[in-house]
Amino acid sequence: MSLLEVRGLQVHFPIKRGIVLERTVGAVRAVDGVDLAVERGRTLGIVGESGCGKSTLGRAILQLEPVTAGTVAFDGEDLARLKPTAMRAMRRRMQMVFQDPLASLDPRQSVASVLSEPLRTHGEKGPYDKRVRELLDLVGLPSSAASRYPHEFSGGQRQRVGIARAIALSPELIVADEPVSALDVSIQAQVVNLLEELQERLSLTYLVIAHDLAVVRHISDDIAVMYLGTIVEVAPSEDLYARPLHPYTIALLSAIPIPDPEVEDRRERVLLRGDLPSAADPPSGCRFHTRCPYRQPTRCDDEVPVLRTPEGFPGQAVACHWAEQVASGQLRPASSPVVATAPDG
């Protein structure tokens, strides 16, 4: 059984109008029908451009956002059915690492207080000094850090404090929402390595949310690509990078420059045009059809593609009607100028 199993998850934020008499005039479909599963001890990476709902997905999994529909099962238990007290108790098994390490730490709390808060909350008896030192040691900070305050640390050190807090209760699952994107590039690798090292030592399961494809590739066993609230492709990390199947994934990966000018000049790039459509009014049919260079008349506009394993690609799942044809080269991407003049759906 998977440690984490998400079925048909939807998170819709109502759009309200009016001052005294509020009425709901629509909904932002931040997460709109996501299925995914993470096996114990593995890492699932979730990538997508900003605004695609990946952070909301992470929070909804931890029941930190109100879930509109669908289920999140953790170790076989449906989290939505748990009573508040049971859910609070359950939280010690699933923790979160945040994007902005400074914002995620209370500026008035010393590190010792930050790290003992989870212990206190879950009824463990003090003194906590020993455990705090142990945690600091685990994340590579000196024990003298305990008496200091968040603003006295560098970004990388703060993120280490954030990670120490997340592992304080020896959780099984950690949702890391952009754990390194706020850090200097030189520090990113250190924090990624720390996360990997901790995974091995503490047998953690990770859900890593990021927009940086290199980071996700490095840390993930499997990768899910998200677009406008839905997952368009799931595959083992190496397969996804070697052979992306969904047009969106193909476009994303082709945006990564190759550090060899000759190859870089010759390679074919698939360009996306336009912006991410509004999640309050997503396109009909395949959500990607408004920007897809492989779009085929009517079917892409009318029929919602389901996540399926295409013929000849076991282990990968993709939500595209034409995945096989795209993969075989039967369908070619429309070049940008032609597409630019084509009428828009």
Partner: protein, 307 residues
Amino acid sequence: MSLTAGADLAAGSADSGATGEQAAGLYRDAFRRLRRSPTAIVGAALVALFVFVAVFAPLLAPYSPTAVDLTDIRPGVFPGPSAEHPLGLDQLGRDELSRIIYGARYSLLIGIVSLSLGAVVGLALGLLAGAFGGWVDGLVMRLVDIMLAVPSLLLAIGVAALLGPRLLSVMIAIAVVNVPIFARLLRGSMLAQRRSDYALAARSLGVTRGRIVLQHVFPNSLAPVIVQGTLALATAIIEAAGLAFLGLGSADPAIPEWGRMLAETNAFLASAPLLALWPGLAIVLSVMGFYLLGEALREALDPKLRR
């Protein structure tokens, strides 16, 4: 009266010292920055002078504020500054300097009492709205909107007129004006803090809502309230003077209240302009002290400068 006021101040600072252990980060930093700010030093010096004069008025004043010296008083003639009376005598032959010194007590008293009253009620409302949100927030804020819709001076005049010309009514009037300001400020600050990542982090740890609000959100929402408190003291002194000037202060003519002293010299402005200058100067300096200190505090507590 002023001694208890002084004790209140001392208790207040001792209080913040007790929580200082946890709060060290922000406030220690702010204090360090305050000590280097000329604005803060000038402001603090003026405030210190004002408080000192108010507390030790009986020791500092050369005469009683109500003692009358009629030796040199003739109709239409006001003896100016002299060796015995450095600031001269007022229209009833009372020592102006002593009255200014005693006046500080009333200004400070009115300021502190009205501020405390207004802040306590306002903060309670703000805490309610900020902690619960939803319809509680809506209800409290509409109430506050109603209070804000009435011009503050008009509101103060109304309250003073309703309760009669007493010192207490001035205090209540100014407190009422302060309530919506503090309520909105704390509520807004708390709403912002509630959406912060660290509040979310606490939730993800399983910390209960009540504890998140009381231990994380509320303490972190107080910085703008402290600044507002300092600025509100300045406003309270001006408003007290304004109400007294309009004849809505205490009816007791023996009370040396600056605004009222200003009003009483109105008729003699041509023959004794200095008598209007002294209380005016006292008001300006004390208000400026609190104002400068408040502005310096605002800068020192600005989280954007901390990164």
